[in-house]
Structure formats: C-alpha cells, structure tokens
C-alpha cells in the first residue's frame, strides 16, 4: 500500500497533505488527554499488527488493519495512523516524508469510513449475523478504500500509471477478503472479551 517516493505529482501530494492536515486536526480535536494513551497504544498495536503475515493461497500478505482502527477509534484513527506511519517511515523507510500525506490520507479516510459503515450497519441490523457482516465489510472496506485511493493518486499523477494502478488494486482483492475475515473474528473476540472497547452505539445495540 505504500507508494514509493518520487512517483506522485506535486498536485496529488499537495491534496494528500491538505486532507491529512484536515483529518488530523479533526481527529485531534475529538481526542482528549484521557484517551490519548489508549489511542497511542492502539496505534502501536496497529503498527505491530500490520507486520503480521496472513497466508493467502500460495502467497501471504501483511495486514493493514486501518478498518479495525477506524471501528475502534473513529476519527481519532486519523492521527493514530499518521503517528504509526511516521514511525514506519523512520524505522523501516516504508513510505517517507513526501508521500506521508497521501499514504495517511488513503489509509485514514478509508479507515474512518469503515468505522462509520460498521456503526451504521450494526445499528440497522442489530443481530449477531448482522454485526458479523458489519465487521467483515468494515475490514474489507478499509482495504478497498485504501487501495482505491492509492490507485486514484497514481492515476491522477500520471496517466501512464493507470495500468499499474489497476494491477495494484486487483492485487489487493484477496487482501480485502483476508482482512475482512480477520476484522470479523477480532471484533467478535473483543465483543466477548472486552465489549467496552467497541464503540458506544454498538454496545447500545448489543443491549437492545
């Protein structure tokens, strides 16, 4: 999912920075000091979790977990993803200073959207099957959105990258399914073990 440096055009980079700045500001405003530790440690868990390799067929892929983070944190997922990606750039040089805006924006926006979708769907379909579907689709939507935004950034930078962008998106389809399954099982696990970690509205639906 990380675009290398030097690939994107100045316009796309600027839009990425602007959206990241807006999302981070909004996320930080919603984040008070009492939740800062939890967010920081969940960002660290996101970092570690994204190094986990999941076998898919003959190959394996690493998880992205932005959907799960969006489900757990809402808008606060944005600054958490920014912090984790900055750390990844520093420690592993995945991504970097210049594409940090675009990378954060593609993963953050889709993560927040996945969180919204999860909450909306568990409200309208509050049965166990509905909640499982919501978690699966939330996880898959996180990856799908991130892949789509990355492909869009590549295509908008240079028409010549359109084929590469399409291939990149197609390569992420199995990852979407895997990530959906993992998110579904993880949310199910959290609901059984520590339901207070899941968003409030979901808990209300749980009690109803």
């Amino acid at each position: 999912m990380h675009i290398a440096e030097g690939v994107l055009s100045p316009g796309v980079l600027a839009v990425g920075y602007a959206l990241t700045a807006a999302g981070t500001t909004l996320g930080l405003r919603r984040l008070d000091y009492d939740r800062l530790m939890t967010t920081g440690i969940l960002a660290a868990a996101f970092f570690v979790g994204s190094l986990v390799h999941v076998p898919i067929g003959f190959s394996s892929a690493h998880l992205i977990l932005n959907g799960l983070l969006g489900v757990l944190l809402g808008w606060a997922a944005f600054p958490a993803i920014l912090a984790a990606l900055t750390l990844q750039a520093l420690l592993f040089q995945f991504g970097g200073l210049v594409v940090l805006g675009v990378n954060t924006c593609s993963m953050g926006l889709s993560g927040v959207a996945a969180g919204w979708f999860f909450r909306w769907m568990s409200r309208v379909w509050p049965t166990p099957a509905g909640r499982r579907t919501a978690a699966f689709l939330g996880g898959a939507l996180g990856v799908a959105g991130a892949a789509l935004l990355t492909a869009l950034a590549l295509t908008c930078s240079e028409q010549g990258f359109a084929t590469a962008a399409a291939l990149l998106f197609l390569a992420h389809v199995p990852v979407m399914l895997a990530e959906g399954c993992i998110t579904m099982f993880t949310v199910e696990f959290l609901r059984r073990v520590r339901p207070e970690m899941l968003p409030d509205k979901d808990k209300e639906a749980n009690h109803a």
Binding site: L8, G40, A45, V48, G49, Q93, G96
Partner: protein, 253 residues
C-alpha cells in the same frame, strides 16, 4: 526490537536535529518536484554523498534500499509498455515506448534520491529525538505526544506479539489458508489489543498519579550554532543548483 543500527556515529548526527529535519523536508520536497533526468541525476549524486557522509553500515542499508525499490521494480515491469508513445523496441506483442522508459527512469532516480536524503538526515535520529525536534518545530502537542507514545510502545507490543505467537506455535498452530488460521490469528490480535488497552489504562493512571497535566516536558536541549547554519546553507545551495538545472533544462535525447 525494531531498531536496527544503520549508521555509525558521524558528524551528521551532531548537527542539530531540527536543522536536519528542516533540511530533509526541504530537500525531499525539492527532489520530488523534479521532472528533468539530469537534475534528478545531480540530486541523486548529492543524496548519495550525504548518505556516504552519514557512515552507513552497508549490509542493513542495502536491504532497506532493496525494500524501497520493490515498488520501483513493479513500476518498471508495467510502465514501459503501458505508456503510449514513440516506439523504442518491440518485445512480442508489447511495444516499449520511449516515454514509458523515461518515466520509469525518472521515478527510480527520484525514489532513490529522496530515500537516501531521508535516511542520511532523518534515519540517523532516534524516535524520541524526532519527536522532540517536531515539538520544537511547533507540531501540535497532542500529535507529538501520540507519536512518542506509539514509538515507546511499539517495542513492548512487538515483544508481546512474539510471546503470543510462540505460545500458539508451541500448541501446534501451523498457519495455512483456512478459517482456523484466520480465527487463531484474529484471537491473538484481539488479545494483543485487549492487553494494550489494559496497559494504556494502567499507564494513564500511573501518569495521573505522577501529576500529568497534559503538557510534555522535554529535557532534550537543542543548540543550533554556526556549524548547523553552515550545513543548512550548503544544502540550500545544492537545492538551488538542482532547481536551476531543472529550470534551465539541458536538452536531452
């Protein structure tokens, strides 16, 4: 746990962290805007020189650069034939275009130049150093706090994940493409999240107990002297040179 020593001590590490960060941002942005192959080549030369000055440990550094170039290799596999343009050569039914090769070459040069600048100037910092430098450069306090916290706990959680995974393997867990594997991995991940959450609550309570009031007090002292200024000016001159070359544009084939 994730820290790998990439550089030996060098004079670059003695340059003020804020100056290094500022120079890295400026130079990386300047390199990313280039569209001329010659300007990119000069940029790559400057960044390679910076990397040499940082006294790298070659083996881990080359592994990092190889990882960065995976995406570049992917683009080389696709772009030369997918960009329409003047025919350079024909391989079966694929037409390699001049424009496609030029685009791929430009991207490879830029990607490596930017990565080298970032490695030499920012890769030589530790995470706390970067956090404090960001704070002094007026980055939002909460964001710096979040970054420092994440950096602190990444190692702890990485260790925890390793323990969980070893325990699962000792109980006969063999990863494969099946529901059982996904369920197990998800449970391990869930356990990691639950433990992180509990740890966060403990840390928060401990910090409140020690009088945490939301402000962050750093004991790191930054001094920017004439040498740091000279270093920044030198890099600025290099950037101006590269941009001039880009704007004047030496005609190429």
């Amino acid at each position: 746990m994730f820290d790998q020593r990439l550089f030996q001590p060098s004079f670059l590490q003695e340059v003020d962290a804020r100056v290094r960060l500022g120079c890295a941002v400026g130079l990386c942005l300047c390199l990313s805007l280039l569209g001329d192959v010659y300007a990119c080549l000069v940029g790559l030369a400057v960044s390679a020189l910076l990397l040499l000055l940082a006294r790298p440990c070659w083996q881990p550094l080359l592994c990092r650069l190889a990882a960065i170039n995976v995406f570049v290799v992917f683009l080389w596999c696709v772009t030369p034939w997918s960009v329409p343009g003047e025919e350079l050569m024909r391989l079966g039914w694929l037409t390699i275009s001049v424009q496609g090769v030029r685009l791929s070459l430009l991207v490879s040069l830029k990607a490596n130049a930017i990565a080298a600048v970032f490695l030499a100037l920012v890769g030589t910092m530790t995470a706390p150093e970067l956090g404090h430098a960001l704070e002094r450069l007026h980055c939002p306090t909460k964001l710096v706090f979040l970054f420092l916290f994440t950096a602190r706990y990444v190692h702890v959680l990485g260790q925890e994940w390793r323990v969980l995974f070893t325990a699962a393997k000792l109980r006969g867990f063999r990863p494969g493409t099946n529901a059982a594997t996904y369920r197990t991995l998800a449970s391990l991940l869930g356990l990691l999240l639950v433990r992180s959450h509990e740890r966060a609550q403990r840390v928060h309570e401990a910090m409140l107990l020690r009088g945490f009031d939301g402000s962050f007090r750093s004991v790191t002292v930054f001094h920017a002297g004439p040498r740091d200024l000279g270093f920044a000016l030198l890099l600025l001159l290099c950037a101006v040179g590269i941009v001039t070359l880009e704007l004047c544009g030496v005609p190429y084939v």
